[in-house]
């Protein structure tokens, strides 16, 4: 059985949610949609921390390494002396590496976010469920394999 | 209606951009690989049939930065009596009699000619064969360009043969 509960008031919504969780409905089967982010929900449903940060970390690491390698490689590829500095002059390259760290960190976390939330999903565009400014709780029945 | 402003602007922008790129691609480097020469001179005949050496006509190739084009007199030295009946040779003799140099069309040239200084001499002295750059000329009835003479191509060869890759080697 599928159940859908609509609330106009945030607190009522939160109370109900807590009850549900206490009553043993596994958070996995509860879907909520709110007009704006309600951080309490996370505590109630004890959703595990988003894996997004790992994307960020990976991106950052990749950016760092790529920056270090790319700058050095291109410089060695055709060594040209400038201003008496060595071909691989670390201080300058550190800056580029840092910039790439941030760049890839940012971009990849965004991609990761799209990946995790399955955005942009065609469905959500074609038939957007419209709840306006209301708080919704959906409870899915246990489907068993 | 207002919501359409952005899409309209953007699409218009992209259409223009694409047109621009297409035009660019179309007009980019249109110089033909095989220019039509004032006289239909055949390297094939002169090299393969007659068996002349490249240096017989291009005699400065190992002395000068430029291989050099033979003076009309050199052509005439043979063609005064060789194949005089052929219309092409008659063209040549006309140039000779009118004391006009033959306006040969250039086949090989650098994209940014003004800035590249290539020396035939050095490459010949380094033991390079003409065909390395100019292809199998002896098989060409009509001279055609086989290389685009792009910097990357020069450089790859220079690197392979430990030739200098210092910029002033070619750019002055």
């Amino acid at each position: 059985m599928n159940e859908q509960l609509l609330f106009d008031d945030k607190n009522k919504f939160l109370q109900k949610l807590e009850e549900l969780v206490k009553s043993g409905v596994s958070p996995r089967n509860i879907a909520v949609s709110t007009p704006y982010p309600v951080h309490e929900v996370e505590h109630i449903l004890k959703t595990p921390p988003s894996p997004l940060r790992f994307f960020t970390l990976l991106g950052a690491l990749f950016g760092l390494l790529f920056g270090a390698w790319f700058t050095s490689w291109t410089s060695i590829n055709w060594p040209l002396i400038g201003g008496g500095k060595p071909i691989i002059s670390v201080p300058a390259f550190v800056i580029v590496a840092f910039e790439l760290t941030v760049l890839f960190g940012g971009v990849i976390s965004f991609l990761g976010f799209l990946f995790l939330t399955r955005l942009p999903s065609v469905k959500s565009i074609i038939s957007p469920e419209e709840y306006g400014n209301r708080f919704v709780i959906q409870i899915h029945s246990e489907e068993k394999k | 209606m207002k919501r359409r402003i952005m899409p309209l602007v953007l699409s218009a922008y992209f259409v223009l951009f694409i047109i621009f790129v297409v035009l660019l691609a179309y007009f980019w480097n249109r110089d033909s690989k095989t220019p039509v020469q004032p006289i239909n001179f055949s390297h094939q005949i002169h090299v393969s049939k007659v068996g002349l050496q490249c240096t017989f006509c291009h005699d400065k190739v190992d002395k000068s930065t430029f291989a050099g084009i033979p003076p009309v007199q050199k052509c005439m030295s043979c063609h005064k009596n060789v194949k005089t009946e052929s219309p092409e040779i008659q063209k040549l003799t006309r140039y000779w009699e009118e004391k006009k140099p033959v306006p040969w069309k250039r086949v090989y040239s650098f994209k940014i000619q003004n800035y590249v200084y290539f020396s035939h001499k050095r490459h010949i002295k380094a033991g390079l064969d003409c065909s390395k750059c100019h292809g199998e000329v002896k098989l060409m009835p009509q001279m055609k360009r086989v290389r685009q003479l792009e910097m990357g191509w020069c450089v790859s060869c220079h690197k392979a043969n430990m030739a200098p890759t210092d910029c002033v080697t070619c750019h002055k």
Binding site: S89 | P71, V72, K74, R106, C167
Partner: protein, 954 residues
């Protein structure tokens, strides 16, 4: 007859024959072959050199034209692309002055007269054929004769075969040959020498043999008689440790600033000093021959006090000078230029001659045997006589050849008006000058680089003039013109042309073999009969009888019209390059100006570019001001040739044109006139650029220590020194022998295809010169110059900031600029502490036909590209190419940069700093060596040699 036939005629098939083999012009879509192959094995990348003669001024230096082969307008041809000096030439020994360097701009000048022209009835020029021109002139000559009018031949200074031919021409045609016209006729000098020695000549001064030099007014390093020769000798002389040079002048010249001691004298007061000196010498026992008592009695004997009061030279300076003169072994005194072109000029020259005689200089350093061939040159007296005859309508046909009297003769003689009284005016010139505009028939002459001929710059030297390019237009040599006219007159069809005439002359003079060497070397030295020079006491006495020395010192302030190192007497003003290059002393480029002393400027509240009005009697002249430090307060200076409007008088005794306007008054008008002054500040402000600066002294010593112990150097660095392969190219500039003549600047422009941008751009501060001369005032009593060009720093600040590697440091220590990679961020220029990088703000191609001059060995930069001194990388590459053929390294002295090659005093040395035996590295290690802005740690490859301390009295 073209060059090859000419040489065949002489039986020369080798040597300097010019036709080169086929080559390919890169910038052309077609490949134009030759019709006929050359017999000569010359090919692209290997230019030919022809030794000929520079005709830009009367000095006639040996000029070696570099001819490159290229296709121009679809025609394969050979084009002179650079002028160098003839190596080992007795006059200029491989050097040239800026005017000589720029002479190619005359050869290719768009305003060259391209075909004969005659006035039609309504007074406009129309193109004519040579034949009708000849016919017309001959009939006119005849008609004039019948009218009992005299036909006159009025030319500039002419020497060698042509002089003889003109003589013959005038004889046969019954034409009177007037004394030759030069505005710098040295009339007083020659007159004085005539009186004293019976030698109406300008002697040849052996400056290099002198150990004490005293010059009075003579700007020997700029324009005086044979400047390059003087400069070259000076370069020799300064090598001598105890060479001392006093220079006395009423104005301020670069020559004066080079002297060991420069003493400013009041205008017209030189004679007091000279008289004093003469007596001092004759009293002492060091003089060789005492002048006759009679003479000495007639020369006033002023006291030291009187002299220093009149001249403004302090007593002790006078003392020093005289004593220095006394201890000198081979003293030399030269009076000329501004000091002879004054009311007392003749006396000054005379006293000088007496001093020379007294010191026995005529046997050693003052050489009349090799005098400068001025005997046929007249003076303004002759011009006056000519004017008289014109006024009396006594002149029929007048030939005006190779001179520009209309501009040169000061306006108050109104030459232009009088000239109209002649029946016919025939002009001969290569250029449409003001004088040619006044003529009825204009016969275009070939430029000296287009024609055969010869010249005798001074006795004992014969220069060849030989073509480096076929005549570009329908022009003739003057010799051919004269021969043709004679032929037309005598009605004969055939006859020898000038070339054959020349050959006969040479063969008769030198014989076949000598003639060949004349053409190949560009000159021969003929033996001259030694002269025994003695004072002609009688003529001196008779002259002195009716002279009074009590001449008043000029009523100040005075305006002095000096010659210009850039335009000589104005004849080189038409060459754009010489306008583009700043006048070294003022750094003014385009336009006219008056130099006003800093003191006077302060009093009048004048700044640079303010307009002042200079009033003489009823004349008013308005010009912008250039404030000039060190210049005496009451002296104003303008340059002849820039300003023709000024009316000056002449010396009625000798006919010397005066360079002075006495008793002028100057007032500020309040207007400001845009005048391109390139120097941002004349004050060095203790920045360690001048050699005299303490920090420099200290730095240079510091630097030498570093060189001695390379270890310390390593310790001082963050990064290790980067390696060089085989070469590290470097340069030394000897500031002691550098005379700031700007020849290097001109040479650099021509060699490196540097754009000439014009006045508008220069007003914007966008000059393009790769090498420049920076004048800096030193505690207001002296001006020091320094040469600034790309320092090719080892740690170049310009390199790391380029985002695209368009500039980088190559293994040979060159700071390379890759033009086609440059995107034009201009960051490198911002970051260059020497500000020697130049940005192409626009496309500045030389207009046709000047672009024939482009050096094919390197590129012509387009807009948006940064450029700078490359140490003439094209020359370096050529030398390395040659060395590679012989499988060896480049030898020391094989690479010669353009600036180095043309330097008259050999102040510049170039070579490989890695090779300890090379001259450059030895000089760089000397104790005088220092590097500009050393403390920035840029490690420049250019080492300056500190200038020896010199005293100067403002």
């Amino acid at each position: 007859m073209d060059r090859r036939d000419f040489l065949k005629f002489l039986g020369i098939s080798s040597g300097t024959a010019m036709i080169s083999s086929c080559g390919v012009d890169k910038a052309n879509e077609k490949i134009i072959p030759y019709l006929i192959p050359p017999e000569q094995d010359v090919y692209p990348g290997k230019p030919v050199f022809y030794n000929t003669t520079c005709t830009e001024c009367p000095a006639n230096c040996g000029l070696s034209a570099r001819v490159n082969e290229k296709v121009y307008d679809e025609v394969r041809g050979l084009f002179p692309t650079k002028a160098e000096g003839v190596k080992g030439h007795p006059i200029n020994n491989g050097a040239l002055c800026p005017r000589g360097q720029a002479s190619l701009f005359r050869l290719y000048h768009p305003k060259r007269i391209q075909r004969p022209m005659m006035r039609d009835n309504d007074g406009n020029f129309r193109v004519a054929t040579w034949q009708e021109a000849y016919a017309y002139v001959t009939t006119e000559l005849q008609a004039a004769k019948e009218e009992k009018k005299d036909n006159l031949y009025f030319s500039g200074r002419t020497t060698g075969t042509l002089a003889g031919l003109i003589g013959r021409f005038c004889e046969e045609m019954g034409i009177e040959r007037l004394p030759e016209f030069e505005i710098f006729s040295h009339a007083n000098l020659r007159k004085a020498n005539e009186i004293v020695f019976n030698q109406p000549e300008v002697p040849h001064y052996h400056i290099k043999d002198a150990d004490f030099l005293l010059t009075i007014g003579a700007d020997i390093l700029e324009t005086f008689v044979s400047p390059v020769s003087n400069a070259a000798q000076y370069g020799e002389a300064v090598k001598n440790e105890n060479f001392t040079w006093y220079h006395l002048e009423p104005n301020l010249s670069m020559t004066g600033l080079k002297a060991t001691t420069r003493l400013a004298v009041n205008p017209h007061s030189e004679i007091y000093f000279l008289a004093y000196l003469l007596h001092a010498l004759s009293r002492s026992d060091i003089r060789k021959r005492r002048p006759s008592w009679a003479i000495m009695n007639m020369v006033p004997d002023p006291s030291a006090e009187e002299v220093s009061q009149k001249t403004g030279i302090s007593a002790e300076n006078l003392e020093h000078l005289v004593s220095a003169f006394f201890i000198a072994k081979r003293p030399l005194i030269i009076t000329g230029g501004v000091s002879t072109a004054q009311p007392g000029g003749l006396e000054a020259a005379l006293l000088t001659a007496l001093i020379q005689a007294a010191m026995g200089m005529n046997d050693t350093v003052v050489d009349f045997a090799h005098s400068q061939n001025y005997e046929k040159v007249g003076s303004m007296l002759d011009v006056q006589e000519l004017l008289e005859r014109l006024r009396n309508k006594a002149v029929g046909v007048i030939f005006i050849s190779r001179s520009n009297p209309v501009d040169d003769i000061s306006a108050n003689f109104n030459f232009v008006e009088e000239l109209k009284n002649a029946r016919l005016r025939v002009g001969m010139s290569d250029f449409m000058s003001a004088s040619m505009q006044e003529c009825d028939v204009v016969l275009p002459l070939s430029h000296s680089l287009e024609s055969w001929g010869d010249a005798a710059p001074r006795k004992g030297i014969r220069n060849v003039i030989q073509p480096a390019i076929e005549p570009q237009y329908d022009t003739r040599t003057e010799g051919d013109v004269l021969l043709e006219i004679m032929r037309t007159a005598s009605g004969q069809k055939q006859g020898p042309d000038y070339n054959q005439y020349l050959i006969e002359q040479w063969h008769s003079l030198y014989g076949e073999s000598e003639t060949v060497s004349l053409i190949e070397n560009g000159y021969i030295e003929e033996p001259v009969s030694p002269l025994s020079i003695a004072v002609d006491t009688r003529s001196v006495e008779s002259y002195l009888k009716n002279t009074d020395f009590s001449r008043e010192v000029a009523a100040q302030p005075v305006l002095i019209i000096t010659p210009s190192i850039r335009t000589y007497d104005g004849r080189s003003k038409v060459l754009p390059l010489l306008n583009e290059i700043p006048d070294p002393l003022t750094t003014v480029t385009y336009g006219e100006w008056v130099s006003v002393s800093a003191v006077a400027a302060k009093k009048m509240g004048l700044k640079d570019r303010d307009e002042i009005q200079i009033s003489v009697e009823n004349e008013n002249l308005n010009y912008p001001v250039k404030v000039q430090n060190v210049l005496p307060e009451n002296v104003y200076m303008v340059q002849r040739g820039l300003i023709y409007a000024i009316k000056t008088d002449i010396d009625s005794r000798s006919g010397e044109a005066s360079w002075y306007l006495d008793n002028i008054s100057a007032t500020k008008t309040g207007a400001v006139i845009p005048l391109p002054i390139l120097s941002g500040s004349m004050h060095e402000e203790g920045r360690g650029i001048l050699s005299s600066h303490e920090s420099v002294v200290e730095h240079s010593e510091h630097y030498n220590e570093k060189l001695k112990e390379e270890v310390d150097v390593e310790e001082e660095r963050i990064y290790p020194k980067h390696p060089h392969k085989n070469y590290r190219w470097g340069m030394t500039i000897n500031q002691d022998s550098c005379i700031n003549c700007a020849a290097c600047v001109a040479a650099c422009y021509v060699e490196n295809n540097i754009p000439v941008v014009g006045q508008k751009e220069q007003l914007q501060g966008r000059e393009m010169s790769w090498i420049r001369i920076e004048p800096f005032v030193r505690d207001d009593r002296d001006i020091e110059f320094t040469l600034m060009l790309c320092q090719q720093c080892d740690n170049a600040p310009c390199e790391p900031v380029c985002p695209v590697y368009a500039t980088y440091h190559n293994p040979e220590g060159l700071n390379v600029q890759v033009y086609n990679r440059c995107v034009g961020t201009r960051y490198c220029s911002n970051n260059c502490p020497y500000k020697v990088r130049r940005f192409n703000w626009f496309d500045h191609r030389l207009p046709k036909p000047w672009d024939k001059m482009y050096n094919p060995a390197l590129s012509v930069r387009g807009r948006g590209i940064m450029e700078k001194c490359t140490f003439c990388v094209q020359r370096i590459r050529a030398a390395e190419d040659m060395a590679k053929d012989e499988d060896r390294l480049v030898r020391d002295g094989e690479v010669v940069t353009a600036c180095q090659e043309t330097c008259p005093t050999k102040a510049i040395t170039f070579g490989n700093l890695m090779d300890d035996s090379s001259r450059v590295s030895q000089i760089a290690r000397s104790d005088e060596a220092y590097r500009v802005l050393e403390e920035l740690g840029t490690e420049p490859a250019i080492h300056y040699l500190r200038k020896k301390e010199r005293k100067s009295e403002a």
